[in-house]
Symmetry: C2
Subunit: 629 residues, 2 copies
């Protein structure tokens, strides 16, 4: 955490100084905004928290409810999401209060006595150590609280505007605020009253029944058949021994349960499968009572019993596998002729079962993917065509998610005796672990994803996948730190210069690169960094040496890695790193000993891998996505 | 973190439900309190944060200042303090914003050109891995903020009472509130007005010039000569390469600097030695200006220069090595005839140099040591004689501190050419690392420290030293966790039952012990636990099995380790542990394979180590410190 460089901060350094539109932020929703977000779920809130970091951008987020979410909804947090929370500064704090999944247990009918269930297998949750971040369970409400805190502590001092419902929108191309959104108050003396808010961009994060989606002519396509679930957040006394372990439980009767222990050591969530819903059910399944859900759970758990003492929340819901074909308002035939003004994200774009614990996670990545792009365009740093990449990148991810979830939920619903192999379920779980952990996403080439011609320079940073952090030594203070954890959600591009073999101060490819980057007229630093800002305002440029930190003389490191920042012109010492003995990032990430440049997007995805000498390619890459300053 | 067991908690689980005196806490300082603490420094605030956990106890903490500390004062946080913060729930949060010391550098005059300093050595800060917690630097203000947050979130909803100065006290033995304290308002329309607050106990944590100390007839004895320091918290640009590393810098001219990098990546504290103060100085040294301190620093750093851009705080102060002979109001000749009513802690008891970074840390351990004892006595769980152990335990620690600091500061002030061995300083630093890390404290036998007859049952838990945590597997959810990190500052005694070899459910010494502890009329559980409370209200009893967690069938574990708690009678699953493969606590802590009982005090110190069969000794130990319920 870096602070004090604008003068001494006596109180919580997580609270940034108010700036720009945060200096005089009106409590009331204004008539004109840069970005209007509809819905305070995970997709909307992460987008709002990201946009809140830009002092020049007015973002408002409206919500039909009168206040914060209190109970219910999603609870699975994959490691990729915790990595994302790290960029927003609350990974540790939410980890401390969450339940952590380290193993999953699989219960099946006892072969000897099929009326009883027995533990058939255990699977370690992340046997390959895909991430240094944990797999968590914590209520969506606390995730939203965390984003709300980030927003409130941001320079723009953002807070959600509760009590507004989306009624419709019109796009008038060419206007400065082209999207006219009709909102209606849902509470208070003005309830029902409509008003228009004009926005440059609108994000519909308003859930599976999204009205924003409807307003841009998108529909969810997919399964006709829906699947019904009874779900409860319960406190109970039970003799079932794995009540604090994530379990997939399949009973002789065909019923099955997904058991998710929850934060706090006592609560658990139980998804009780109520089966496919007949086409003519007409919502009848939703009248399933809590007592019926509990009774069904007891049947499945036999010979164990569940004495439910308190239920915080329960619901019966039906869900299918459905997906939109686009995530914005540009029709296929229009693509390339105009850029989007209205976007949708999260459940508005993709719905599926809760079984893989993916919904909240994929939704947050939707919002994160879009928000930095909106920030870059609105700040005038990037061309509008950057916004085309949102739908292109995220629709594919949603498609993969639907396919994965179909396979997983079909497997879980299959009677054990019908499986090709009795251990098919747990094997699938272990084999595909990278997907539900959130790390299978790999974006394809575009203006923000380069080609793989030079992937060999750093094989451990696959282009298009998220930057896999590794530990290094920070030279100035000899602290072992995770290189990737210094990546904040601040809209900046990261440029990691992995040095070639010579030591700091010696003639080297790294030194030549640093000289070019710091001073060549063609350098992205000179082309795209505003003259009146800090030198690291657009590019956060770091170097990693091959030597241990004792052998890196910081006074001989090129100055581009030690920029002077802030009103006092203080040196930022947190951009110079060294390989850790015994934990060499060059070895662990397959980085060429001739050095490499790794470019990482503001949302943590690897955009380019280049040799140190490929300065023309590096400059060309950034000319594609950044405008001249 | 455990919660939800009294019903669903939707918001921050760190905020406990208000209870007892917190339900209707008056904003105004009342006329009668249980405990009155004078001074909101580290010793006072930790004591207040601890006492705030007891809903039945009215504690108030008064402070002369009008509000929170903003700048200056102590900044060194030893690992033992971070371990203590863990018990109060904010170790991770303060670590995230602190500077972490991993190495110390030693700079000396260049032999070839003595006018220049050169780096002579580096020393790794904790080469032996004494603690899993880091060695930190963070402003005292943030430590106090953290304790204030703990207090405010506690059942008693405690807040400091700012703007009251201590004027004097009278003790009337035998009264229900024997200590009449005269306070005066320091601000507002009533400034100067005196009032009396009557307390059962008073803690003077009012600093080196403690008025509470004077009121009980204690004096600081020690050095006549004082040592002067110029100190500044500065933002600067410099070519000194180790500006972000802790350094001891000795110059040719004899001047020396202790450089402490600070939180946030830019700020540093510099202690510039101004030498011994002549007896007839009469405070003249205090007129040393900031400019003089900066000039002196530049001389010492030669050939490097320090361009100071901003100074958040600076001071010149004189300090000697001084100590009181007792920490309470009981004169030596009275000891045993009455128990104390007034205590002093922190700088009120011991003053010394800042060079070893010890002051705040030892002060916090003073406050922690006392506060749980006050809580136990005021709640009627322990006899008043428990309070005698405070002065007895802490005076010795203070004496050791003064001795250590004398040696260290003498060494640091010695000209390199006068040292017996040129590397004497760094060798002393490395050799004695356990002391400044805070882990050398070892209390001697008393009613709360047992004898060492059975130390062989667990050699890695030395009786009288703080419980050294180790990782184990929590059986119910298969999470690897640090056993000691589950120890909260809640006033409870921890009883760790390390099992003998048989598995859970088999006949074993552990099973026999559990049966005795759960049901024998002589068991401490039955004797000292109130009938109307949770079974773990007084004793937090945990078991650690030798088997890996897969081989511990939780349904066969004795019920005393799975108590039913809270209004719903839910099972607490976080008391059953298993050894981790490859990281076996039995091996790492020298625990007998025949099992052992380790008793840990509410302030994390090991009180007793006993074989499983030594039930009589265990019962006798607790009869000494706990009253019948």
């Amino acid at each position: 955490m870096q602070f004090h460089h604008h003068g001494y901060v006596s109180t919580d350094p997580r609270i940034q100084e108010a700036a720009g539109v945060g200096l005089d932020r009106p409590d009331e929703l204004p008539d004109e905004v840069d970005v209007l977000i509809v819905g305070t779920g995970p997709a909307g809130m992460i987008a709002a928290a990201q946009l809140a970091q830009f002092p020049g951008i007015t973002t408002r987020i409206v919500e039909r409810r009168a206040g914060r979410l209190a109970i219910g909804q999603a609870d699975g947090i994959q490691a990729r999401s915790v990595e994302t929370f790290q960029a927003f500064g609350f990974a540790d704090r939410i980890t401390a209060e969450a339940y952590r999944i380290t193993e999953m247990a699989f219960w099946k009918p006892d072969a000897a006595e099929p009326a009883n269930i027995v533990r058939a297998a255990r699977a370690v949750d992340d046997p390959a150590g895909i991430s240094e971040f944990p797999h968590l369970i914590v209520n969506q409400a606390r995730v939203l609280d965390s984003f709300a805190e980030v927003m409130a502590n941001a320079p723009t001092r953002m807070r959600p505007d509760f009590g507004y419902e989306f009624r419709g929108l019109d796009v008038v191309q060419g206007a400065e605020h082209p999207v006219a959104v009709t909102l209606a108050r849902t509470e208070g003396p003005l309830a029902g009253e409509e008003r228009i808010v004009r926005a440059k961009y609108v994000l519909g994060a308003d859930g599976a029944r999204s009205a924003v989606r409807a307003s841009i002519g998108c529909t969810l396509a997919g399964d006709q058949a829906l699947h019904a679930w009874g779900v409860m957040d319960a406190l109970a006394v039970t003799d079932f021994p794995d009540i604090r372990t994530k379990c997939a439980i399949q009973s002789h009767s065909g019923g099955n349960i997904l058991l998710i222990p929850r934060e706090g050591g006592h609560l658990f969530r139980m998804y009780v499968d109520l089966g496919e819903v007949a086409a003519d059910d007409a919502g009848a399944v939703r009248s399933t009572s809590l007592e019926q859900i509990i009774a069904r759970a007891n049947e499945i758990l036999h010979p164990y019993t569940l004495d439910v003492r308190n239920v915080a929340w329960h619901s019966v819901y039906e869900v299918g596998h459905r997906l939109t074909d686009r995530f914005d308002d540009v029709l296929p035939e229009e693509r390339g002729t105009r850029t989007p003004r209205v976007f949708i994200a999260g459940d508005a774009c993709h719905t599926h079962s809760a079984k893989a614990g993916q919904g909240m996670n994929v939704s947050m990545q939707d919002g994160f993917n879009l928000a930095w792009k909106l920030g870059a365009v609105l700040e005038g740093r990037s061309p509008e065509r950057l916004l085309d990449t949102y739908s292109a990148e995220r629709q594919v991810v949603a498609k993969d998610l639907i396919d994965f979830d179909k396979e997983w939920s079909t497997l879980m619903a299959t009677r054990p005796e019908d499986l090709a192999d009795p251990s098919e379920l747990e094997e699938f779980y272990t084999r595909t672990a990278e997907f539900p952990a959130g790390f299978m996403t790999q974006y394809t080439p575009s203006i923000i994803i380069g080609g793989d011609e030079h992937q060999a320079s750093a094989t451990g940073f696959p282009i298009g996948k998220r930057f896999t952090s590794a530990r290094v030594s920070r030279v100035a203070d000899t602290n072992p730190v995770h290189l990737g954890h210094h990546h904040r959600a601040d809209g900046r591009w990261r440029v990691y210069a992995f040095a070639d073999a010579p030591a700091a101060g010696e003639a080297s490819a790294l030194a030549a690169w640093a000289e070019w980057f710091a001073g060549d007229p063609a350098s992205p630093l000179l082309l795209h960094t505003p003259a009146d800002g800090d030198p690291d305002a657009v590019f956060d440029v770091k170097v990693v040496y091959q030597q241990p930190h004792e052998d890196v003389a910081i006074e001989r490191v090129p100055r581009v890695f030690l920029p002077n920042v802030g009103p006092f012109g203080l040196v930022d010492y947190e951009k110079v790193y060294a390989a850790l003995p015994g934990e060499d990032v060059f070895e662990d990430r397959g980085i060429s000993r001739a050095g490499a440049i790794v470019v990482v997007r503001p949302d943590q995805y690897v955009a380019a891998v280049l040799p140190l000498a490929a300065t023309d390619e590096l400059a060309a890459f950034f000319r594609g996505v950044l405008l001249p300053a």
